[in-house]
Structures are given as C-alpha cells and as structure tokens.
C-alpha cells in the first residue's frame, strides 16, 4: 500500500510541477503586460538572436576591448564594466560641440545616440526630443507610412518607439528612453517624438555620444555595405563620396526588409 502511495504521489507531483511551470509562465506573462514590461521583455527575448557582430559592446568601438559581446541587451545602466570604464567621464550630460561629419553624414554632438539609430536630445524644459539619425533617415527616406505612438502613451528603453514602412519593410525604431510621449512630429519636423522621461531625469548612460559616434558609424557603414553586397550588388564608395538621400531607391533589387532588419537591430 505504501509503495502505491509513493509511486502515485511521485507521478502526480511530476504532473503538478509540469502544470505549475506552464501556469506560472502564463501568470508571469500576464503580470508583465499589466506592469508594461512586455515591450522591454520582447527586446530582451530577441536580443540573443541578433548575430554576435551586432551585439558588440560599445567599448569595442573606442578600442577598450578588441572583442566583447554585450550580454545586457545594450542596457549599460547596470553594467559594471561600463561604469568602471566611464568613471572618469561625466555620464549624464551630452557634450556640446560641432557636428561630427562621418562619411558625409551629419551627427550633431549635442545629443545621444541609440544603437538602433534613434537619437535623444534633452531640452531645457526637461523633455527629450527623439529622432532618427542621418543613416537611419537615409534608409527609410520618403517612407510609405509612419505609425507614431499616441500622445500620453508610454514608451520603454529598447522597446518599440515607432514604426516606419519602407518598400515593404516594416521597421520598428527602438526607443532610446523610458517616458511618456507628450508630442509627436515626423520627418518634416526633423524629430518624431517628444518624451517626458520617467522620474523627471533623463538617464543617458546606455546611449552613445561624443567620440563613440565616429567608430560606431564607421562600423555601421561596413555592415550596410556587407548587407547590400550580399544581394549581389557590391557598392563602391570613392573617397569623398556622400551617401545618397534615399538608399533604397538606388538598390531596387535589394531585400530591403533584410537590410533594414540588420541596421535597425531586428533579429
């Protein structure tokens, strides 16, 4: 009798553990949606699926590491290595200076840049203006559709900021900060969102700035060239050449979905 009880108890314990595991996952997923964590989780879940070259640590760009893969989904705010390396720099304030000219692209140095090609510029009134950097703008130039979040909605760092449709490619632009959308713009205004940061302070430790921009864009250009070359149309860039305003129009046979996915970090 005792052996019956032990055997069946073990079996039903296993069944209970299995059911409990699935139920707990469903419950946690529901909690994530209620707590507005779902957007950030989607990024965390997809980040490991990016090719290793796209997950390179920002400190590779500036030569502090020869090879290092980010394991924090580009959220440097809790990264001890990043904190140690930038201890001597002032983290919260963007350097004010002239525009950086990288391969003929303008990258104003008064703002912070997200690895997904969005920029964030702190305004004097405490809000942050968010836009698309020069390389991103040329990739989705003259988009077929833009879908911006509603004013009053909440966006999360590395979550979806807004959507752009270009030549069949549905591109989501990653948000560079957490906050509430207070105004929306568009390509004509030169910015897309104005955001009131959560907690009132804009934490930009995870964003690129200053001397990081040039090596980062140099690498992005290499990736873009490789991506376009893989379509069988190798591009040539003579010294002094400037990237055209609408790259998609110059590559009618390119798989624009794949090109945009690569540059805008979509696994």
């Amino acid at each position: 009798m005792l052996s019956h009880i032990i055997f069946l108890s073990l079996f039903y314990t296993v069944v209970a553990v299995l059911c409990g595991t699935v139920a707990l996952s469903l419950f946690r997923a529901a909690c994530d949606f209620r707590a507005h964590r779902a957007d950030a989780i989607c990024w965390q879940a997809t980040f490991p699926d990016l090719p290793a070259i796209e997950r390179a640590c920002r400190h590779e760009f500036t030569g502090e590491f020869e090879h290092r893969t980010c394991d924090r989904a580009f959220d440097c705010r809790g990264c001890q290595t990043h904190a140690a390396l930038t201890a001597t720099q002032s983290a919260g304030v963007a350097p004010v200076g002239p525009e950086a000219d990288v391969f003929g692209l303008e990258f104003p140095l008064d703002r912070f840049y997200h690895r997904g090609h969005a920029w964030a510029h702190p305004e004097p009134d405490g809000t942050v203006t968010v836009g698309l950097d020069a390389l991103g703008a040329r990739l989705v130039a003259q988009p077929e559709a833009i879908e911006l979040p509603a004013v009053g909605s909440h966006i999360q760092t590395n979550g979806c900021g807004w959507h752009v449709r270009k030549r069949g490619a549905d591109v989501r632009i990653l948000s560079p900060l957490d906050g509430e959308v207070v105004a929306t713009g568009g390509p004509r205004q030169g910015w897309y969102l104005r955001v009131k940061p959560d907690g009132g302070d804009f934490d930009a430790r995870h964003l690129l700035r200053g001397s990081e921009i040039r090596p980062w864009i140099a690498r992005e250009m290499e990736r873009l060239q490789a991506s376009l070359a893989s379509t069988g149309q190798a591009i040539m860039m003579a010294d002094g050449g400037v990237l055209v305003d609408d790259i998609a129009a110059s590559y009618p046979e390119a798989d624009w979905d794949a090109v945009c996915a690569q540059i805008f970090l979509q696994p």
Partner: protein, 410 residues
C-alpha cells in the same frame, strides 16, 4: 506601445519547390506507415508476425532504440541548464526536437503495439503499480509532455509567430523556468531508461536476459541509463553533421561536435567497463544458476559469439578510445565514424535485449524461435522514420534549431 515586431531575418533555406520535393518521399513513407498501422489497429495484431511466444518484435526494438537515441535531449538539457555547460546552447534546440521526435514516435509505435488503442488511458486510470512497464509508461508520457513544453519556446520564436508580443513574452517567461523542466526531464529520463533495463530483473523465465544487481535494481537498470546517456550526444553529433551536409551550411562552431564526441566517449568508458563486468558475472554466476552455461546461448546461428564481441569491443571499446583521444576527435572522419559506431552499438544492444532474448530457448526442450516482421510491422516502423524526418525538416526550415548558424553565415 505593443505593436507587432518587424520581420525577422532568417537563415537562407532552399526554395519552396525544392523543399516540397524533399518532403515527398518521407510523406509517402509516413502514409505507407499510417496505412500499415491502421490495419493493425482496425484488424488487430493478427496483422503482425508476433504471437504469444514472440511478443517483442520490431516495434519494441524500435521503441527501445529511439528512446535511447533520444536521450540526447535530456542529457544535453541536464549539462546545459543544470551543469551550465554553455557550449551546448548551440545544439540544445536540435536536441529537443530530436528528443520530441524519438519519444512521440515511440509512443505512436507503442499505441499500435498495445493493440487496444481505445483503452490507452487504462494504464493511467487502472495502473498496475507492480509492473515496471507502468513506471515506464508514466515516465515516458510525462517526459513527452516535458519535451512538448520545451518545444513551445522554439516554435514561438518562429519569425512569424515572434511578431506577436504575447507569444514572445510567454516564451521569455517559460525559458526562465527551463532549468525546472530540465531537472524534471532528467529525473524522468533516468527512471524510465533505468526501468526499461530494470525489466530484466524480473524476467526470471528468460535466463539469457535475466540479471541480478543491487536491492531492487538489476545491473541492466544502470547499464541502460549509462548507454543511453552515452549514445544521446553521439546521435546529436551525427544528426548535426548530417543536416549540415544536406543543407550545405555550417550550423555549429568548430568545437561543438568534438565536445559532443568527448561527452559521449567519457560516458562510454564506464559503460564498457560495467558491461564487461556484468557479462562476466552473468556467464560465471547468473546463467549457470539458471541451468545454462553462458556459452550455450551463443551456440545458435546467427547469434554467435561475434555478437557479444561486436557489442562490447567494436561498438563500445573502439569508439570510446577514439572519442577520448583529442587528435582523433578533431578529425571529422574519426569523430563521425566513432559516433556512428556508438549509435549502431546502442541499436545492437537493444536488439539483443529484445529479439535475441525471445529467440533463444528458455527450457532444454524449447526450439530456437525465429521471427520476421510482417509488411504491416515494417510499414509502421518506416512510418515512424518518415514522420521523424518530416518533423525535423519542417523544424529546420521554419525554426531556429542552430542559433550559431546566423553568426557563422555573417
């Protein structure tokens, strides 16, 4: 804002037409198998060449073999999630799919083999707790459930399905609990692999297979666990290489296959040692106590002494020595030959423990029995094979079975 996430980049695959052409013969094999299995289910087990004396046939051989080969899923999960052997992340998805195919295929064959498909639930509702096979049924059913749950995150990461945020969030949360599933899977696998071997502790009427051991566990309990744990990684190694060759793509980094080979080799050494000791004890003690000298069992053709030599030396010791030597492991030819020998060895061992066991006489006046499967049995066997190839082909095409593939293509 939770909009659908944009289209994902997927590794390049062959065209739809090429893929359909590839699936055609396997689908035909599956259809043939379903027809054979259908006849057995509708008309009964008289469609087979098994009878009341020869009750273990091709299907049981298939079950025991695929369950052993599918052990790569639990053992890889155990090494990755419990022992944190991160390099195995490269093959864990493929291992889960292989495990799922093996176990679901075995369950399907068992359903036909039991012969009363409408009463399949009796084993759960009226369990005979004195039977080893009840434990096996319970463990295999539970482990198949574990594999289904482990399969879910792989499916949800399909490039279309992942565009639905709720699927991605559920996948993320489920993946966080993967160590629990790996632990449960390991527990279940250890016990059902062991229980399949434990069966020989109660087969007193079959002196060729009967074994004694420690307390309630015969030696075969431990040998079945160890041999399955050794063969599982070898089978993953072999399938990964095969898929890589067929698809023409590099799927894993250069160190992954040798690592799987090394794991297999490390487990194979104690297995060969224990198997040798077990055989010596059986020849000198267990079998004589039942009225037979061990050598008598090898006097009948075609099951001569060569089968014992092949099992222990050719398919055990030789691959173990190859897999333990780094220089040989790093040569593709040696590595793959050794892995193939290990997989063939496990199939031979399960064949010996089922078909040969029943063919040999149990009493001095018993005749040597022979058995040849009917076409319906063979069709069902081939159907499981076709089913496995189809599931793996669809998984490889639409899911990410080898996460490193993308990086290796860059």
């Amino acid at each position: 804002m939770l909009k659908a996430i944009g289209r994902a980049r997927a590794p390049r695959r062959c065209t739809t037409n090429q893929f359909l052409l590839w699936t055609l013969p396997w689908a035909a094999l599956l259809a043939f198998g379903l027809y054979g299995a259908g006849l057995c289910l509708v008309k009964g087990l008289n469609q087979t060449n098994m009878d009341n004396r020869f009750v273990f046939g091709l299907w049981i051989f298939l079950d025991l073999t695929v369950i052993a080969l599918g052990a790569g899923a639990f053992f890889t999960g155990f090494l990755l999630y419990i022992l944190k052997k991160r390099e195995l992340q490269a093959v864990i998805n493929s291992a889960v799919v292989i495990g799922f195919i093996c176990y679901s295929g075995a369950m399907a064959a068992l359903l036909v083999d039991v012969g009363q498909p409408l009463r399949f639930w009796f084993t759960f509702w009226h369990p005979n707790v004195h039977s080893m096979l009840t434990e096996v049924t319970f463990c295999i059913s539970c482990y198949l459930t574990v594999l289904c749950i482990e399969y879910i995150p792989i499916v949800l990461k399909n490039r279309k399905l992942r565009q639905v945020p709720s699927f991605l969030v559920f996948e993320f949360e489920l993946h966080k609990l993967m160590p629990v599933l790996a632990g449960v899977g390991t527990f279940l696998s250890f016990f059902h692999q062991g229980s399949l071997g434990g069966l020989y502790g109660v087969l007193r009427g079959r002196p060729f297979a009967f074994r004694e051991g420690f307390a309630m566990w015969p030696s075969t309990f431990f040998l079945f666990i160890l041999s399955a744990a050794a063969a599982g990684p070898a089978f993953i190694l072999l399938t990964t290489w095969l898929v890589s060759k067929i698809s023409g793509k590099q799927l894993v980094g250069p160190g992954v296959l040798p690592l799987l080979g090394r794991i297999s080799g490390i487990l194979l050494v104690p297995y060969v040692l224990l198997k040798s000791i077990d055989t010596l004890v059986w020849i000198n003690s267990t079998s004589p106590a039942r009225g037979f000298t061990g050598y008598q069992f090898y006097a009948r053709k075609p099951f001569g002494g060569w089968i014992l030599f092949a099992e222990i030396v050719v398919f055990g010791l030789v691959p173990a020595l190859i897999l333990l030597r780094r220089r040989l492991r790093e040569s593709h030819g040696w590595l793959l030959s050794a892995a193939a020998l290990v997989c063939a060895g496990i199939a031979l061992n399960r064949f010996v423990m089922t078909i040969q066991t029943l063919a040999l006489p149990t009493l001095p006046f018993d005749p040597f029995m022979s058995y040849l499967p009917s076409w319906q049995e063979t069709a069902t066997f081939l159907g499981v094979f076709g089913y496995g190839i189809l599931i793996y082909s669809f998984s490889f095409r639409y899911l990410t079975l080898f996460p490193q593939e993308k990086d290796l293509q860059c």
